[in-house]
Amino acid sequence: MSGVMEWERNAVADEQRGNFSGNASGAHVVREGELDLSHNVILYLDDITVSFDGFRALNGLSLAIDAGELRCIIGPNGAGKTTMMDVITGKTRPDSGKAFFGQTIDLTRLTEPQIAHAGIGRKFQKPTVFEQHSAFENLELAMKADKRVRRTLFAQLFDDDRDRIAEVLVQIGLAHEADRPAGLLSHGQKQWLEIGMLLMQEPKLLLLDEPVAGMTDDETARTAELFVSLAGKHSLVVVEHDMAFVEALGGKVTVLCEGSVLAEGELAEVQDDPRVIEVYLGR
């Protein structure tokens, strides 16, 4: 217990000192718990296997995401996409294999909140926002801060914080809905709000599980624009079934099937791959 707290404190303190090394040039000293992007890889999964009662949801899955990359993951239902995100965020422990965040952070040894503090944000397949709170308050709660009781009791919103929240509200198209209870927002707006909460956490890596499910075509197009604009500064892993959306994102595509990578490359390439066609058109 106290170990966890200790770690969180260090992570927060490090970040406040701007110590997350990023692509720091010059001599680089790797310290425990720091995100080290020296090889330009932010996420590295190697030979991950997860079984549920003998059923292999992930079967020797290997995947590498570059810093700043926007990667789409597609695959039929039950391919293991959500399970992969569970492994990355510490919700599920792999039976074997390695999962690293940057060069040094071993994700299989951290708890969920530690991973969140290290800089991985996740949007779940089913959107969950705080329905009684306004959109503004939802973002306030998600905002990167010291989240221990003692601090939260006396926390206050400074002008910078307000500006940041207002900025994200504009980014997610909810500037006019700031004071409405989140429970009254449309399904698509809730999806956006959850994405906004993710942005407020200022993660290095965003995992987005079916972010445009339930959105209109127009909303979907705008979401694609938003994600494309985020890539570079952030790294994104997007799971989607909507091919038009995947096409609009324009990044590299990984096809998962039965718990491992079936194909990887540009969307057009992947779509021409006979094995992928077989998986999608049935056997």
Partner: protein
């Protein structure tokens, strides 16, 4: 650029709330004490001892109701064992009151009467220091606080929630009641503590003491409300409500719900303990019936009647139900349990937001008409400033640079 704490406390309550609180304080600290202790008994405005202690007792109940609302209304944790914390505070101060009897008990002994009756020769170790006023004040806070902290730690860490948690709190208070019923426990068995004589050497039945206890109860209520308002208006309060509505999501954005629940749970228990300590000298008795499961359920009914998650509703609920109770128990004592049951069902079915909810609904109905005439208000941003009037979306590129 930090706003001073006092200013933030001031801002946490709307102006009308402060005015109401000020009026209440003026009445409780000046009018009632004067009417009871200064005006002579025959005077038309004189308040009798009966009335003053009845009102003082209800003030203590109001504190308990607000403490209950903090955890039930805001954190979504329904405790059906809050009577235990109230009783622990009461017993802690009761020990001091028993020692203040001195040799004026019916046996004229140094030990409290019930110990003489049990043929005990000396005080049990846990009565050590009970003749000290300050030590007993410490116990009033520490006993319920510690029990709540330890119980809460295990319950919240095991992620016990909802109805399971409520049932366990019932079992907890029930077990404590059985324990306190036993003579060997050393708290007077089923008779509990009574026949109090003095506090700090002053007679407990004197008008001055009664007025003082009343004023202190009112002060505790004011303090509880101010602390409660600050908490629920702070980010801490928003985290609590978020835990109530989607706990796993709260964990995922980096808060540890265990610590949040434990803090508000323990605070709530301590407030109940303080209320119990003021209650005992005013009613003149404390016994294990305060720990009965039904007593704790009644506390939840007060809050439900007044309206959960509003604090002021808890105050109103405790007032309404207890005034009704004192009237019933004088006029038709046998019907009170039926009325209480009926009240609970009626409120659950027809007034889910209690009296405060009814008030708001009526207020909203009145407000609808003018709003329709005025037309749509211009949208405002999060801080009340007008929202940018252009398209809902800014060119996305701006977000990218930020």
């Amino acid at each position: 650029m930090r706003t001073p704490l006092t200013l933030r406390i001031l801002r946490s309550t709307p102006r009308a709330g402060w005015i109401a609180l000020a009026i209440f304080a003026a009445v409780a600290w000046i009018c009632v004490p004067v009417a009871h202790a200064v005006l002579p008994e025959g005077h038309a405005l004189h308040l009798s001892a009966y009335i003053v202690s009845l009102l003082g007792k209800i003030l203590c109940y109001m504190v308990v109701a607000v403490a209950m609302d903090l955890i039930w209304g805001y954190a979504g944790i329904l405790s059906l064992g809050h009577g235990l914390f109230f009783a622990l505070g009461g017993y802690a101060f009761g020990m001091y009151l028993m020692r203040q009897i001195g040799r004026d008990g019916s046996y004229g002994a140094d030990l409290p009467d019930f110990m003489v009756f049990l043929d005990w020769k000396e005080l049990p170790w846990y009565w050590a220091g009970s003749d000290s006023f300050l030590w007993s004040l410490f116990l009033v806070v520490a006993a319920p606080g510690l029990v709540a902290f330890v119980f809460g730690w295990f319950a919240f860490r095991s992620r016990i929630k909802g109805v399971y948690f409520s049932i366990i709190t019932q079992a907890l208070t029930y077990a404590a009641m059985l324990l306190f019923f036993r003579n060997e426990t050393g708290f007077g068995g089923n008779n509990g503590f009574t026949d109090f004589k003095r506090i700090l050497g002053y007679a407990i039945t004197s008008p001055g003491m009664r007025a003082t206890l009343f004023a202190l109860s009112a002060a505790l209520l004011v303090a509880t409300l101010v602390i409660g308002r600050y908490l629920v208006a702070s980010r801490f309060g928003r985290v609590l409500a978020a835990i109530r509505d989607a706990e796993s999501r709260v964990m995922f954005i980096g808060y540890n719900p265990l610590h949040y629940k434990l803090f508000v749970w323990t605070l709530s228990a301590v407030l109940c303990g303080l209320a119990g300590a003021l209650y005992v000298p005013q009613v003149g008795i404390i016994n294990p019936s305060e720990m009965s499961p039904a007593t704790s359920i009644e506390i939840a009914v007060w809050v439900a009647v007044g309206g959960r998650g509003t604090l002021v509703g808890a105050v109103l609920g405790a007032g309404i139900v207890n005034l009704a109770k004192s009237w019933f128990t004088v006029s038709f004592p046998e019907y009170w349990p039926f009325f209480l049951g009926f009240l609970f069902i009626a409120v659950t079915l027809y007034l889910p937001d209690g009296v405060v909810g009814l008030w708001r609904r009526l207020g909203a109905r009145r407000a609808v008409v003018p709003a329709a005439v005025e037309g749509v208000k211009p949208a405002t941003g999060p801080c009340g400033e007008p929202a940018p009037a252009q398209s809902e979306f800014e060119p996305i590129a701006k977000g990218a640079q930020a």
